[in-house]
């Protein structure tokens, strides 16, 4: 038994003439929570579809639980998944919907009620799916993914449409599952949503991997930032100019300048700005934060 739940090499998918996923490589160790992060359209769903045998890769290979992705029947009985949001039959109840999938996979139907209760739908299981709120639909999708009692759980933006409390609950549920030894591969377009529970992070941008590894490694990649504000909007570009001249990358965001520089450069900037006749309204060194790093890595400069 290999110790990777997912391993992918040179995987690509071409749609029309564009590579939606471009020659990506990454591994997800067994028993971890791996956050799969990237902005809209970066190829997260496309990657997951390839891993589940729903679409054929244009290039590359992948292995799930040690089995090649060309043979989904060898591993899917041990995989639970929800791709691109929940999808169910509106005229059937939540319970009946799960029953359909339990029958299909040959799983014990007794699990249906247990799972409905696990995701907090115990009392609404008999209502039709079309009467569910967005959050309830999302929960039903998670319950369906848990039907096979999976070794690997793949969830595509499971917290979409959930309120803060719901997001907390899903996070706690995923962490619990991981503690029981299930590998969780979960996508989101917000790193902040996953950083708390993830051991591993795979970051995607425009179909390419920008980071893949333990979350600790991501922290060390972060650069300290100084945020400067001035009373006069037109001064912002002059501040940025001063920073760039001293060799520090600077970018204007909203009403402030973000400068990649260590904390002790702040007084120097202050003096330089003063000399140039600019009054700074705020000058704050900022502790590295994952979201910032994320934008550095995935956002357009």
């Amino acid at each position: 038994m290999p110790n990777t739940a997912i391993s992918v090499s040179d995987l690509s998918k071409k749609y029309d003439d564009r590579l939606a996923v471009s020659h990506i490589n990454f591994e997800v160790p067994l028993g971890t929570v791996c956050g799969f992060v990237g902005p809209n359209g970066s190829g997260k769903t496309t990657t997951m579809r390839m891993l589940l045998g729903l679409i054929t890769p244009t290039t590359g290979q992948g292995h799930i639980l040690g089995e090649p992705i060309e043979y989904p029947d060898k591993y899917l009985s041990r995989v639970g998944a929800m791709i691109e949001g929940p999808a169910f039959y509106p005229a059937l109840s939540g319970q009946e919907n799960l029953m359909v999938l339990a029958r299909l996979g040959g799983f014990p139907v007794e699990r249906v009620q247990t799972l409905l209760e696990k995701v907090g739908l115990g009392e609404r299981g008999k209502s039709k799916y079309k009467t569910y709120s967005l959050g309830m639909k999302q929960r039903l999708g998670i319950a369906a993914a848990l039907l096979p009692d999976p070794k690997l759980l793949m969830l595509d933006e499971p917290t979409n449409g959930l309120d803060p409390e719901g997001i907390q609950e899903v996070r706690a549920l995923l962490r619990d599952l991981a503690n029981d030894g299930i590998t969780v591969f979960v996508s989101s377009h917000l790193l902040s949503e996953l950083e708390i529970i993830s051991d591993h992070i795979v970051m995607l941008r425009k179909g390419e991997i920008v980071f893949a590894g333990p979350i600790g490694e991501l922290m060390t990649k972060q650069q300290p930032t100084i945020i400067a504000k001035s009373l006069n909007y037109s001064d912002l570009s002059r501040i940025a100019e001063i920073a760039e001249k001293s060799g520090h990358h600077a970018a204007i965001r909203n009403d402030s300048v973000h400068i990649l520089a260590p904390m002790d450069w702040a007084p120097i900037l202050n003096k330089a700005a003063f000399d140039a006749g600019i009054t700074l309204a705020q000058l704050a060194p900022q502790l590295p934060n994952l979201e910032e790093t994320f934008f550095e890595m995935t956002g357009d400069k």
Partner: protein
Amino acid sequence: MFNVMRAELRKLRRPTLFLGTMGAVVFFSGLFSALLYLLIDSPQGNADRGRVISREVLALASGGVQGFSSVGGFLGIIALCVFAAQTAQEYTYGTLRNLLIRQPSRMKILAGKLISMIIFALAMIVLSAIISIATSVILAPTVDVSTELWFSPEGIEFLYTTFINVVISVIGFGIIGMVLGLLLRSPISAISLGVLWLLIVENLLVAVKNSTQSWLPGSQLSIIATGGNADVSYSHALATGGAYVAVGALVASILFVRRDVAN
């Protein structure tokens, strides 16, 4: 495959779908058969397209299943709609991805779906046979049609062969519905295209040029249900209709097995 079947039956058992369809079957089977007797003396005719089926014909051994075989085409249209909707909805609801995650063998999904829908169609046909024959038996004496020969050995044989023919025809229509559903991936387009073609285009073509009857797909399947007619023989209809269904099914299943599931 057995698992796929059970899962599909769970969906087909849904009360609005099951009871709704069976209700329509009861209503139309009763109506078609009743009109055969109630309009027997009407100058507009008592059957399809103003034809007249006389007392003498109804009193033959084949008379008992006359109503049943004439409702066969209608059962075919229902089967087409149900098969098309049940297949195409997996695309529009996005549920196909769930099905394929639980059963990655796409041929098994198709086969299981087909078998369960055939079971549904059989229930429909049996019900229709019971209703239309019962209606005939009740109404025949009121218009002086003798039912004596209906239950003779020959009459029973007519019952069996008509039943088999209607089953073949209805399954053929159903598979065409499934093929349309797989190709168009939308219940509304699949059903409207199918029904429009069968009820309007084919009828117009046949009305304009009667010889088109011998090669139009829907006509072949309807002719199978009635055991052949004056213009087209049963074996010709069976061979031509069978070929249409087989080619359609082959193309659609190859496409289904190969195509990316990206919605």
